[in-house]
């Protein structure tokens, strides 16, 4: 059914305006706004956006819908429109962005109960969803960049939501600044694209058409170095937003925000934007094999590193943060071997189980009155059975246990990795499989420490443990269903349900075909059952190792929950790297500009001033006291002008 596309972003935007008005008007009174009203409005607008998306999705034509609202820039060298594009890719993205987003907002009603900034929080959440919708729905890079910056801003606002604590503000600043580094890449990438073929290349359909246009062959060949550069720079933007090496460090720190925010950042918005952009630009990346190779390697390294770092975390949310980084690594390696649809499929399934995990973790933290250290938990299985069940299902999904959502998508990625190349394929596959084992180990550790054994906190806090209210449980249960069954949209076990691939095909089928020409010899096909068996084995092996290693006595918690000693090096290596490679050179540059360049400029300024003073003093000596002398000088000057005019004939 065709309804105007701009309705989808309009609803959350309306929500932002209404909720901001409520937050502002209620700010002077002691209690804050009415929570029921604010919560209702906060959930209503994202849900309306979801309904609009569903209505558009039904019977969508193959090409999708495209709509131009108006002109944004129109100058000679640059043209950009407020254009919206609703095709196979943005359909899937929008369905889970608005759907899971609405569920998380509903959950926040329970989680944020009693918080003084209740209305402000919901306004920010709506703004977050609005930005993400703009990012996904736009048909050109500049508008995507607008949404891209919007989610950056909202993540800053929400990570630092409890701004009374300086630590939270610092985490928010860090997220914002690290994202800016990536954004520079995004901007320069756009610039490189424009310099190759004009500003029409910034619109996705035009870019795709231009890249396959045979008449443009020579221009394309000549622009290849610049296009490769554009690919690298745009990928840098993606690493910033999706927390990949080298811009990984902000995501674990982003756990300073309220838990629903973490769920929103990790599942529905923000971090998936990087993967989305890579897939959206797949026609461009498909002809750049070097960039694709880089994406795969970065994805592999990030996945492995984050999985190992996740082993050492004691904060329940940080474990999940590192697991997100690791899973994003999987998505990028899939995109890197030109399996763009598998990449989006993993984004899709990951959105369900990661949202369920975060909401479950949030419910645990909520019931323990804000305790996040896993060493002070334990035995929650009997105290909060529903939460525990949700977590168990999501856990099985993330480690890739057979028939759960993560199993299908991860298996697909592993298969594509192996098939990618006869030499590199098996190497990549081994690393990715090893990562899958480690994933299962640290997730088992999380489950064992949190839900099994006996409660290790104080007896006083034990009395207050309670199951979450219904408005928190309902989203968790829906997401659990998603993390159990989402995989069947591709698996083909249920006839008629495997439409996921066909939905994406109009967008990614051509780039995938193109990319295979560049990549070279694929390795021989091995039976799908082989991959499935190995994936299952990895999951079970991980559970066994995790159970063996962590079901014993847990060390007493001391101080805060950050890892110490050698373990800290695994997790904070990139902070040091940033300090050495990013902050130190910048400081040095600042010193150079302050001490050397500034002095130079000051000297220049002084020099010009001195020359002016000397010159004017000299000129002043002509201004004698006698009027007649001055008259004589002016006549002399006029004569000089006349003489010059006579000599050069007035054509000087």
């Amino acid at each position: 059914m065709m309804i105007p596309l701009w309705l989808i972003p309009l609803f959350p935007l309306l929500g932002v305006l209404v909720l901001t008005a409520i937050a502002l008007t209620s700010s002077p009174n002691e209690k804050g706004a009415d929570e029921g009203l604010v919560g209702f409005l906060g959930v209503l607008f994202p849900s309306l956006a979801f309904i609009a998306t569903v209505m558009l999705s039904v019977n969508m034509p193959v090409g999708g819908y495209r709509e131009t609202i108006g002109t944004w820039f129109d100058i000679q060298v640059f043209h950009a429109d407020f254009g919206l594009l609703f095709d196979g890719l943005s359909r899937i993205m929008l369905l889970f962005v608005t759907g899971i987003g609405s569920l998380i907002v509903l959950y926040s009603m329970g989680y944020m109960h009693g918080d003084r900034g209740f209305a402000r929080f919901f306004a920010y959440m709506n703004l977050f969803l609005f930005s993400m919708i703009v990012l996904v729905l736009s048909d050109n890079l500049p508008l995507t960049f607008l949404g891209w910056e919007g989610v950056g801003l909202c993540s800053y606002l929400l990570i630092g939501f409890w701004n009374a604590d300086t630590k939270n503000c610092k985490a928010a600043n860090k997220a914002f600044l690290v994202n800016r580094v990536g954004d520079v890449g995004f901007l320069l990438g756009m610039l490189a694209l424009v310099s190759v073929g004009g500003s029409s290349l910034l619109a996705y359909p035009e870019l795709a058409a231009w890249l396959v246009n045979p008449e443009m062959g020579e221009q394309l060949l000549a622009g290849m170095p610049l296009l490769t550069l554009a690919g690298f720079l745009l990928f840098l933007g993606c690493t910033g937003k999706s927390a990949q090496i080298p811009l990984v460090t902000w995501l674990p720190d982003a756990m300073a925000g309220p838990t629903p925010v973490s769920a929103l950042i990790h599942a529905a918005t923000m971090v998936t934007a990087g993967v989305y952009l890579v897939v959206r630009l797949s026609p461009l990346f498909a002809i750049l094999p070097e960039v694709l190779m880089t994406i795969t390697v970065i994805g592999l390294l990030t996945a492995l590193w984050a999985a190992i770092a996740g082993l050492f975390q004691n904060d329940i949310k940080k474990v999940l943060a590192y697991s997100t980084i690791s899973q994003l690594g999987y998505m990028f390696m899939a995109a890197g071997v030109a399996a763009f649809d598998a990449s989006i499929f993993h984004v899709f399934t990951h959105a369900f189980f990661k949202a369920a995990l975060f909401l479950g973790a949030g419910a645990v933290i909520h019931s323990l009155a804000g305790e996040q250290d896993m060493r002070k938990m334990g035995g929650m299985l009997r105290k909060t059975p529903v939460t525990a069940t949700v977590m168990v299902f999501a856990f099985l999904a993330i480690i890739g246990f057979p028939f759960f959502a993560g199993f299908w998508s991860k298996d697909l990625i592993l298969e594509h990795l192996f098939m990618f190349n006869h030499f590199w394929g098996p190497v990549f596959y081994t690393i990715a499989l090893l990562t899958a084992v480690i994933t299962a180990v640290y997730m088992t550790r999380l489950m064992v420490l949190t839900f099994f054994g006996s409660y290790r906190g104080s007896a006083e806090s034990e009395k207050h443990i309670h199951e979450a209210p219904f408005c928190m449980l309902f989203p968790m249960i829906v997401l659990t269903l998603g993390s159990v069954f989402a995989g069947f949209l591709w698996a083909g076990l249920i006839p008629g349900a495997d439409f996921f691939k066909n939905w994406l095909a109009p967008v990614v089928a051509v780039p995938q075909m193109t990319a295979t020409q560049y990549i070279g010899v694929p390795s021989a096909h091995v039976s799908t059952w082989m991959f499935a068996a190995l994936g299952t084995l990895a999951a079970i092996l991980g559970i066994l190792i995790g159970w063996k290693a962590f079901s014993g006595p847990v060390p007493q918690a001391k101080g805060d929950c950050a890892p110490t000693g050698g373990k800290a090096d695994w997790t904070f290596a990139f902070d040091k790297l940033h300090a050495w490679c990013g902050i130190l050179p910048t400081r040095f540059l600042a010193w150079v500009t302050d001490v050397i360049v500034n002095r130079l400029v000051m000297f220049l300024q002084w020099f010009v001033g001195a020359v002016a003073v000397i010159f004017s003093d000299g000129v002043r000596s002509f201004q004698v006291r006698k009027v007649r002398m001055q008259l004589g000088f002016s006549i002399l000057g006029m004569l000089a002008v006349l003489v010059i005019a006579a000599i050069y004939g007035g054509s000087l």
Binding site: R620, Q623, R625, K626, V627, R628, L631, I635
Partner: protein, 102 residues
């Protein structure tokens, strides 16, 4: 009489006027010198006009009339300024007018 003689006369008058304006210290003489150089220019214009055919020479004969009119007004203003200066400074010696030196 050739036109060149008129120009030579005009040049002599201009030089005398400028020399007077530059060398005399009395303000009145300075003004007189300026008037003289103005009239020298008028003479030069009329002299050149004489060399042209009658129809074209009319501009050269009319401009001096304007100049004389403007010079009369200028002399008027100039003398008024001198009177005010005299009242203010008690002198007509130009070398004493130096309060505006930078």
């Amino acid at each position: 009489m050739q036109a060149i003689y008129i120009q030579i006369l005009a040049l002599i008058l201009l030089t005398i006027g400028l020399a007077t304006a530059l060398s005399r210290r009395n303000m009145f003489f300075v003004l007189m010198g300026i008037e003289l150089s103005l009239n020298a220019v008028n003479l030069s214009l009329v002299g050149f006009a004489k060399t042209l055919p009658a129809a074209a020479s009319i501009a050269g004969q009319i401009i001096p009339l304007f100049t004389i009119g403007v010079a009369a007004a200028e002399a008027c203003v100039g003398l008024a300024v001198v009177i005010l200066l005299f009242r203010n400074q008690e002198t007509v010696d130009t070398d004493n007018y130096s309060n505006m030196k930078g």
